[in-house]
């Protein structure tokens, strides 16, 4: 079966700097793959390439059957990206934020409630303005915004960042549940003791290439 992510010698640029200098990797349906590597290795760029946000200038790259070298924009609606930033509106509440991103894809109000529950954001927390939340709570809200879209491919950049133990448990559970339901997960993390047990496989990224 066609891999969900297929990259061969893919080069992606940040201006003139080759963030990815020839990445070759395949990720298959239902896998949870960890991307590991030192700072500046290109982990964030790899995730953005798979999200269709960073263009591939050389090599082969396809995600969910979409050829990224030709039409990267089309793949975006099919995947969910949790980047370094949270992508939230600080003046709105948790519920407002998740509901907005849900409405973008036509998800129902029930799904919003379910997702808030799953990530421990229901109750009083749901009606708190994002500006007043802790780092971990914001991260979970960001993940909720992704979760509510039920994408087939999850791209997560440091999903555990800023989370306390309870938060991490919630996130791990959500990840596993998604994979069991048929989603594919590619995530980058520095917290290896947490990340490695979660993953089926590990990709070593260094100097813009998979080692």
């Amino acid at each position: 079966m066609q891999p969900v992510i297929h990259l061969r010698d893919a080069v992606a640029l940040h201006g003139r700097f080759p963030a990815l200098a020839g990445v070759t990797a395949d990720v298959h349906d239902g896998e949870i793959v960890l991307v590991r590597g030192p700072n500046g290795a290109g982990k964030t760029s790899l995730l953005r390439v798979c999200a269709g946000l960073l263009p591939v200038v050389r090599g082969e790259a396809s995600v969910l059957g979409f050829d990224l070298t030709k039409d990267a924009v089309a793949v975006r609606a099919q995947v969910g990206l949790l980047g370094h930033a949270n992508g939230l509106y600080s003046d709105l509440t948790v519920r407002d934020n998740v509901a907005f991103w849900a409405a973008c894809v036509g998800a129902s109000a029930n799904e919003v409630v379910a997702v808030l529950d799953e990530l421990g954001l229901s109750g009083r927390l749901a009606d708190t303005v994002v500006d007043k939340l802790s780092t971990g709570q914001r991260r979970r809200t960001a993940l909720a915004s992704l979760l509510v879209r039920r994408p087939r491919l999850w791209l997560l950049d440091e999903p555990h960042a800023g989370l306390d133990a309870v938060g991490r448990d919630l996130v791990d559970a959500a990840l596993r549940r998604a994979a069991e339901a048929g989603a594919t997960v590619l995530f980058a993390s520095h917290e290896l003791d947490r990340a490695e047990p979660l993953a089926h496989r590990v990709l070593e990224l260094d100097g813009g290439v998979v080692r």
Partner: protein, 235 residues
Amino acid sequence: MKALLRVARLIAAKDLRIERRSRVAITQIVGFAVLVLFLFAFAFDPTRGVLARATPGLFWIAVLLSLLLVVGRNFAAETADGALDGLRMAGLEPGGIFLGKFIALLVELLALVVVLLAGVVVFYDTEIPAAGAVLLVTSAFLACTGLAAAGTVYGALSAGVRVRETLLPLLLLPVVAPVLIGATRAFEAALGTPSDDRRAVASVAEGWPWVALLGVFAVMFVAGGLLSFGTLLED
């Protein structure tokens, strides 16, 4: 078409909800606009009739300066926490995103104009003759439409750029000069402002050609925004 309007409503509602919750536009930007009116009064001797003669121009300059703040805020909300990426990922019609932001900006501008009108009535002793009321309202509405559309386009153009605070005014202000010219002239005609010692007071009828200019400007920028927003949204 229906999809476009649905997206527009979604985005506009979100932007306006942010404004309602944060109240920055309501308090700070409106406060700024009224402050500008005061600054003009300090700069020109209010007792010598200079303010009265210059009211239309001063009014619209106050609007233009406030426009910079409103546009800046509208797009700062998107870039502050990377929400722009989210919009790109959401698979929304870019034209709809443009419309939504445009509508939100328009609502805020119209509210600002209403407050400023009250401001000039109170502080500059402006009288609004009944004969000019229709012209006043029409020209103000069309001017705001053009400003909101241009603001959305140029706001997107300079969003996420390091030097946004200085780039946006440099790009936006020359392009809205026609709106300043047209709206000021229309207001002069509507308010019966004596604009020059030698010239007679402009009649209301003279204001309508300027309204046409404002209309053309607005239509062109709304069309331009709808067509180009997809490209503008890209990183």
